[in-house]
Symmetry: C2
Subunit: 320 residues, 2 copies
């Protein structure tokens, strides 16, 4: 197991996405060359720096036949590409199998054949399912996914682990809380803003509003990943990344309405699980990543407030 | 979530295999109609009763397009089909993706479309990887597979759980110890017998002989599954099935040599992990299944002895 050379390029799948594009900037700032692979289904070309001499972007479908060239000589693979719409995965069961499990297998095969020594994978807290232990530690089991999206994340974790053990790579698995920022075009805040843009008088909220989760800003999430990537050295390194606390959907909805002038009536659709596949209560134990020297700076409420401010500014600018 | 009608047929994938064929006999004995799906890669037609009026056998490839007809009106799906050769999965990484993960997805889709209310899946202790807790309970985590076979089992567990939660099925996940009997054509005992048939003077054993695992007879395993299927009633029911103790590879090899007249010299290839992808130490906590009223009757050593006797008889009969 060799450490990657500092001048070897870094492959980032989903590099034009919400988290990937922030990671790519950090890698470029650190002097790395970066190969982005993205199908631009949720990622946007304009999220990436345009003129960076050290950045190459390849549009491709990872699940069928990702190109070999970007992997050649690379020192690391950051595999962040995935379907971002959990509910679509329930309606169309092939979605996460293809864009999650199969895509992960294909890029791991590319990494193996190119002798890439390190693979870093963006998993999710959803692998825990409805965890009976909260905050939920990395050692929690059994892992009983609620959604096909979560099942694909678990499948990908298993593949990453098996590739590491069978073919001599080192692997990093990050289990994310809800990651948000004002540039995203999916997720609860984006959805609530879009609903209010359509009807400023009523805001429909899925569930009874008591679902409560932890939220982490994208830049904090990327910072946490880079810290773990630098400091953890097991064959497979599994780390939760989340905030220290939760915030309820009711509190989020009320903050969104307040940011829109307080006019809208909130209508809850009822049910403890907001939608099929949802994990209504989520709080991650982050002792393990803290022991490496990283902690979130913002609470979930602060993260939500900052992101609402960004989305409000974006809406005012007419680009929402 | 409705209970299956007692007269509805039961679908068994891998029904001609070592475990499947024993299960099929038990289901037929209980008066059920059975639909077997098998590609006969390791399963054998002769393992099934020939003239049972209540048994239909369909040869098919589950990973591409399993036929719809056997699923129509079925009350249960027992999904036992899988690649049985872990080392092949390391050499040919597509093997377990196709025959494990994809096949599981395709049969779950069939089950969903046919409104089959119960799915029962044969997983494996290998999902635990090199578990730091032994005996290993069902709640152990994180699950870090060593092999692509193990990764496919974990992926399939996740799919089964997601289908149960998303589409209203009830699911059973069985994590098996090493399951053995004298009819099998794979596994450590079969391999050691085959090696001695080729060279009666030397027996090569992969690893240092100190690998130690628990072994369960096929008929005990099937009995355990049927007990859990009858008595457990969570949405997703995860149960270990294994013996109360372990036996080392060295002890197994010595017993096999003794059964062959004690002539052969045992040659260990060295290394704590016998082969890439192996889990050298495995003992499952079985408190959970015991609480349902099932316990193994044989120790691992008794299971090995009985199976060696069967393999010896088979070798004498010239059919090994």
């Amino acid at each position: 197991m060799t450490e990657p050379a500092r001048d070897a390029p870094v492959v980032v799948t989903g590099g034009a996405g919400a988290i990937g594009s922030v990671l790519v900037r950090r890698l470029l700032d650190a002097g790395r060359r970066v190969e982005v692979l993205d199908n631009f289904s949720t990622g946007r070309p304009e999220a990436l720096p345009r003129d960076a001499a050290r950045l190459r972007v390849t549009e491709c479908d990872l699940a069928t036949d990702p190109p070999e060239a970007p992997f050649r000589g690379a020192g690391e693979l950051w595999h962040l590409a995935a379907n971002a719409d959990i509910r679509r995965g329930t309606r169309e069961p092939e979605t996460d199998l293809t864009n999650g499990t199969l895509a992960t297998f294909r890029v791991l095969e590319r990494a193996r054949r190119a002798d890439i020594p390190r693979v870093l994978f963006s998993s999710s807290s959803v692998v825990y399912g409805l965890a009976k232990t909260q905050p939920t530690p990395e050692a929690y089991g059994p892992l009983l996914p609620e959604s096909l999206y979560a099942a694909a994340k678990l499948a990908a974790e298993g593949l990453v682990s098996a590739y590491a053990h069978s073919y001599g790579l080192r692997a990093y698995v990050f289990r994310f809380a809800n990651i948000v920022d004002g540039r995203m075009n999916h997720g609860i805040l984006y959805d609530l803003f879009a609903k209010l843009a359509r009807d400023p008088n009523e805001l429909e909220v899925l569930g009874d509003g008591r679902q409560a989760k932890s939220y982490l800003r994208t830049e904090e999430c990327v910072d946490g990943m880079l810290t773990v990537a630098e400091r953890a050295s097991e064959t497979v390194n599994v780390y939760n990344l989340g905030a220290v606390d939760r915030i309820s959907v009711r509190e989020i909805a009320e903050r969104v309405v307040a940011a829109h002038g307080g006019r809208a009536t909130i209508r809850y659709t009822g049910g403890a699980q907001g939608w099929v596949g949802d994990v209504p209560l989520q709080l991650l134990a982050i002792d393990k990543v803290r022991a490496l020297g990283w902690s979130p700076r913002l609470t979930s409420a602060e993260t939500i407030d900052r992101t609402i401010a960004e989305l409000s500014a974006r809406a005012s600018a007419g680009s929402a």
